[in-house]
């Protein structure tokens, strides 16, 4: 099997993944994934800190917290650079902006 056919299969698999993802409902905002109560908010902060240490700490020391609009840009940049998952990005952003 040559490279062109492998690449075709790869791209078709990605299209399937996109199709699956596009039918999932998404109404929440970028930094507030469905927070309903203070207990849940506390749990999310803890989980966000855990994800932050697991993902960001792999490469660099803990940075200071920046205002939410700056953190939104930084986390988007790091999502691309470090290929962190969508859920990790949301929780890290939530933790870093609370």
């Amino acid at each position: 099997m040559n490279f062109k056919y492998l690449a075709t299969i790869w791209l078709l698999a990605l299209i399937s993944a996109i199709a699956m993802a596009s039918v999932q409902p998404r109404s929440r905002t970028a930094t507030e994934p469905a927070v309903r109560s203070s207990t849940e908010a506390d749990a999310m902060r803890l989980e966000g800190e855990k994800r932050f240490r697991a993902n960001c700490g792999r490469c660099h020391a803990t940075p200071q917290k920046f205002p939410p609009r700056m953190m939104a840009t930084i986390v988007r940049h790091m999502r691309v650079r470090a290929t962190i998952t969508d859920e990790d990005m949301r929780l890290v952003l939530y933790y870093m902006t609370q």
Binding site: A17, S22, R26, R58, R69, T73, H77, T83
Partner: protein
């Protein structure tokens, strides 16, 4: 990045047949994905960030003064787009053989200038000039405020640098205990321009991250599409124990240019029971590495930035974090090579800056 001798012609690669059709379908699918809502208070703002540093590198008794600044521009557009770019300005000055005043030039490189489209939780599409995703050092550990030791690993020039073309990448959970990340790319332009070096190649990287033990393992592959169609492959490993302030990274790479490995560790002395205020800012770092010459001549290897002969190296150093993003560094290494052994001393300071290019409000 090191100097490379390359073909200076610009050539483009056009995909054909089923691959082109798949690309079209992919783009159509990407456009159909719904967008996320963002409130004005959390809308991302453009940022100018980057690093600046000054170092003294003493290699085999030869002192080199190195000053560099690496600005990074981040411009988010809407909910899913990001334009990002990094340039590298580096001045390296040393005395000529026989004495005299310090002299040297300033190198200017465009490391990346890319447009990212976050299509969905699984796929980000990148177009433009991007850092070649081979191993982890080039993409993640290269900035001077991040790397634990300022000397480049010996195998860094193998299959890394920058590429011009298109890339698909992403990371997603496979299950509750493992995340998968990938990058696959086509570099369509071969350029030997001094500031915009790149090769024609295809390649990919895949890694598995286990958040529980904080372990990542992965593999990279690249096929050169120049006159020479050689393959390169590599493996990477990263581990951050949950109970220790320790970071361990390692890479192995193999190509016809040579092969080798490096492993480094950085231990933050935050758990030391005395002088805690100072100790928690102090980091001890060490690296062991080895390079084996490949099928190219010594001169060709050195033109690529690789050692000209089989080489072993050990290095250890101390980093002191004066402030968030500001650290003083000092290290000593010993290189054992068929070309001769030498000592490597490094002293310097690295700084990371972040400046918003718009109103950010209060935190």
């Amino acid at each position: 990045m090191k100097c490379r001798q390359k073909n200076t012609r610009y050539r483009c690669v056009w995909v054909s047949g089923p691959l082109r059709s798949s690309c079209f379908l992919l783009l159509v699918a990407l456009i159909s994905v719904p967008l996320l809502a963002q409130t004005p208070s959390e809308r991302p703002v453009p940022i100018l960030t980057g690093t600046a540093g000054y170092f003294n590198f003493v290699t085999a008794g030869q002192n080199q003064l190195d000053a560099q600044i690496n600005p990074v521009l981040l411009v988010p557009l809407g909910d899913r787009w990001l334009v990002e770019s990094r340039a590298e300005f580096e001045g390296a000055f040393q005395r000529p053989d026989g004495g005299g005043p310090y002299g040297g030039g300033v190198s200017k490189n465009l490391d990346y200038a890319q447009v990212d489209y976050i299509a969905n939780p699984y796929v980000t599409v990148t177009v433009g000039r991007f850092l070649t995703p081979f191993g982890i050092f080039n993409e993640r550990l290269y900035p001077i405020w991040i790397r634990s030791l300022q000397q480049d690993p010996l195998i860094l020039p193998i299959a890394t640098g920058s590429s011009d073309g298109m890339m698909l990448r992403g990371g997603f959970p496979v299950n509750a205990k493992a995340n998968l990340n990938y990058a696959v790319y086509v570099s369509a332009v071969s350029s030997g321009h001094n500031n915009l070096e790149s090769d024609r190649n295809v390649g990919g990287r895949m890694g598995v991250f286990l958040p529980g033990p904080r372990v990542e393992v992965g593999a990279s592959w690249q096929k050169l599409l120049q006159d020479e169609r050689s393959n390169a492959f590599g493996f990477h490993f990263a581990w951050q124990p949950t109970r220790l302030p320790l970071n361990v990274h390692s890479e192995y790479a193999r190509s016809n240019q040579g092969s080798g490995y490096w492993i480094d560790g950085a231990y933050r002395l935050s758990q030391v029971p005395f002088l805690q205020k100072a100790m928690r800012r102090l980091e001890f770092a060490g690296r062991a590495e080895q390079f084996f010459s490949g099928q190219i001549s010594s001169d060709e290897a050195q033109a690529l930035g690789l050692p000209g002969a089989n080489t072993r190296e050990g290095e250890f150093g101390l980093n002191y974090y004066l402030h968030d993003g500001l650290k003083a560094v000092a290290s000593y290494g010993r290189q054992f090579s068929y070309d001769g052994n030498s000592n490597l001393w490094t002293v310097g300071i690295a700084y990371r800056f972040v400046v918003p290019l718009g109103r950010v409000g209060s935190q």
